[in-house]
Amino acid sequence: MIATEWLWGFAGGLMIGLAAALFLLINGRIMGASGILGGLIDRTGWATAAERGAFVAGLALLPFLLVQTALPGADTRLTDNPAVIVAAGLLVGVGTRLANGCTSGHGVCGISRLSLRGIVATVFYLLAGGMAVLAFRHLLGVI
């Protein structure tokens, strides 16, 4: 049996991959969310700031427009524990910049070109994510 969520997941995944393909073949850039934002924050990507800003603007605005019109009812269902939110945000920010990539850069763009770095990074963040959910949900009951 194939659940409807899986089909939506696959369709959305195709859109994500198409976005990455367009950004590579038209702009000549890797679609990595942490690299695009991180280069603006630590100024290492200052030379391409406008292009990065335009990408981030589209990333934040178009889904918001969809939620306001065709696809209402979206909910991130994020925890309401501010300590967990801050800790998680700091870990994601530091970790993705140390590793030079996240789920989009290492995961989508790296694995699709069979990059060993992308595959190794993905194995480690999947394992660490699984361990975090095991530890903080099932052992400690924090999330």
């Binding site: 038209i26 000549g28 679609m31 589209g58 889904p63 939620v67 530091v94 590793a99 660490a128």
Partner: protein, 144 residues
């Protein structure tokens, strides 16, 4: 100007895909990571769907010298793995599991994520700001 338009459109399509696929729902991401609980395999379909067009794009890129707007295609990064790749991925994975958000969905859901989404994005930005200092310390420790 064309660069900015296509960057905006790529970002928008990326965000729309994250919304449609359910990846802006933190419980779906945590469900994928929750192997010992109520496991949700959706994320595998998302990643599989995303890799297909991108694998074709890399094949096209290998036959071209430049991107369509004229700039050079990105070179292959240094293939060495290194401690920062592993340590960074472990830290990122821990944060990803804790909140169920990674950088793309954190930005895509900003419009409806409430104060929690804004707080996550601020903490993530702070982490990115601190990362070069952390990297310098880690490199000094690794060299010692």
């Amino acid at each position: 100007m064309a660069r900015l338009v296509f960057a905006f459109l790529s970002g928008g399509l990326f965000g729309a895909g994250l919304l449609v696929s359910g990846m802006t729902d933190t419980t779906r991401v945590q469900g994928w990571l929750d192997v010992f609980g109520d496991w949700d395999p959706t994320l595998a379909f998302v990643l599989g769907g995303a890799i297909l067009p991108m694998a074709v794009a890399w094949q096209v890129a290998a036959r071209r010298r430049t991107a369509l707007l004229g700039s050079a295609l990105p070179e292959r990064p240094d293939p060495r793995l290194g401690h920062n790749l592993v340590l960074g991925s472990v830290l990122f994975g821990m944060g990803w599991g804790l909140a169920g958000l990674c950088p793309g969905p954190a930005m895509a859901s900003l419009g409806w994520g409430g104060w929690g989404g804004v707080l996550f994005l601020a903490a993530m930005a702070a982490g990115m700001f601190l990362a070069p200092g952390v990297r310098a310390r880690v490199d000094r420790l690794a060299a010692a």
